[in-house]
Symmetry: C2
Subunit: 208 residues, 2 copies
DNA sequence: TGAAAATGCAAGTAATTGCTTGCTTGGCAC
DNA sequence: GTGCCAAGCAAGCAATTACTTGCATTTTCA
């Protein structure tokens, strides 16, 4: 009765007709990201979803049920990041730019969920468990890659962790500024990827 | 009647006897940073402060009154950052390390308020107004300094904004990881300041 | 067409929350 | 002592919130 997994249905109406369950999730995602878990009341969620409040509880056992469902959407982040590093790159810089794109893309693509995690970081056990390992994932993945480069002798003896941390946090910060504080960076993202990659490689002193 | 600015009184008891008003603010600061504005109920605040709930409303007009009071604590950030750059530095690296220390120190010192701002970023007009300009302040201040160095010919033509962004966000990320997600970085802060400064200057390729 | 499933609607419930009121108590200053 | 002021205590209030129940209505689909 809860959510009977029938997915082939929207053939009838074309676009507008979105599954009720999806509409609820979508509304909750948006509201929780903006107002936090508590601020996203079940009433507001149902209104935004355009359904009756009871319908929400017909689809989800309770409010945390919605949250846990949403959190599943970032379970595969590590996998995605590692996959993005699979291909061959012409040089180190291209790899960095590509990694930046992948990482920033992931953040933007699932901005609401990341926001919810930030906001509710230590309120809900569900979030804690899911989120606690996440911030360092992107750093670790890149750090490991850099370490591999080092061991192949392609890179001098820097601390790869610090380097990865600097790189990753740059885009996280840019992401937060843009999507949480609504600040525009006066810079196209792609340009930032390039610049940051170059600086990480050459340093600000090493430019011609 | 509200808060009559009598400050000379704690001479009687010595340490333990903290002003009621301060205890309330302190409790609110802690709770709002952890649970958010909504999660920090006036009941919980009063309990943590060890006072009766009515006392809270005797000291503050209402709940937002507490919030606005707390927010005043980060009004002087730009000033503090600029002040930290006043002195003379033996070289660029020392300046960067010093800036990192100042910035990270500010974050830690007022961690609760920064957390509150992060969490409530677009819920309360008070926070919006106070916080909207803040994330880029630390970047701007450093960016300007780097630009000055460039104009004196002491630095090649890199984009100083990107450089400043990378540097600042590194410590912001480290701060968030440690104090919001309770992750330890496996690294002493001072070491991070050093490493990050060197990488920013030399890049990861430029090491001996 | 007809049964089953999904949704709407009305109403309600127990708990929480921000905030108020009226009154008492206790300490300090004069 | 007397008066004042801060704080405690008990009680309550109106609004909100998560969630339920019962029933009517619509939609789906075989």
């Amino acid at each position: 009765m809860d959510h009977p997994d029938i997915e082939q249905k929207l053939g009838g109406r074309g676009e507008e007709e979105q599954e009720t369950r999806e509409r609820i999730l979508s509304a909750a995602r948006q509201l929780m990201a903006q107002k936090g878990y508590k601020g996203a009341t079940t009433r507001k969620i149902s209104e935004l979803a355009g359904v009756n409040e009871v319908t929400v509880f017909r689809h989800f056992k309770n409010k945390v049920g919605i949250l846990t469902e949403l959190l599943k959407e970032i379970m595969d982040v590590r996998e995605q990041l590692e996959q993005g590093l699979q291909g061959e790159f012409s040089d180190l810089k291209q790899m960095l730019v590509s990694y930046a794109r992948t990482y920033y893309g992931l953040l933007v693509e699932r901005k609401e969920i990341f926001m919810i995690c930030m906001i509710e970081a230590d309120n809900h056990p569900e979030v804690v468990q899911m989120f606690s390992s996440l911030p360092m994932t992107a750093v670790e993945v890149l750090s490991n890659k850099l370490l591999a480069f080092q061991e192949q002798g392609h890179l001098p003896k820097v601390d790869p962790f610090t380097a990865a941390l600097m790189f990753v946090s740059t885009f996280f910060y840019a992401f937060m500024a843009k999507y949480r504080v609504n600040l525009n960076l006066e810079m196209v993202e792609e340009e930032l990827f390039e610049n940051a990659s170059e600086i990480l490689l050459q340093g600000i002193k090493g430019f011609k």
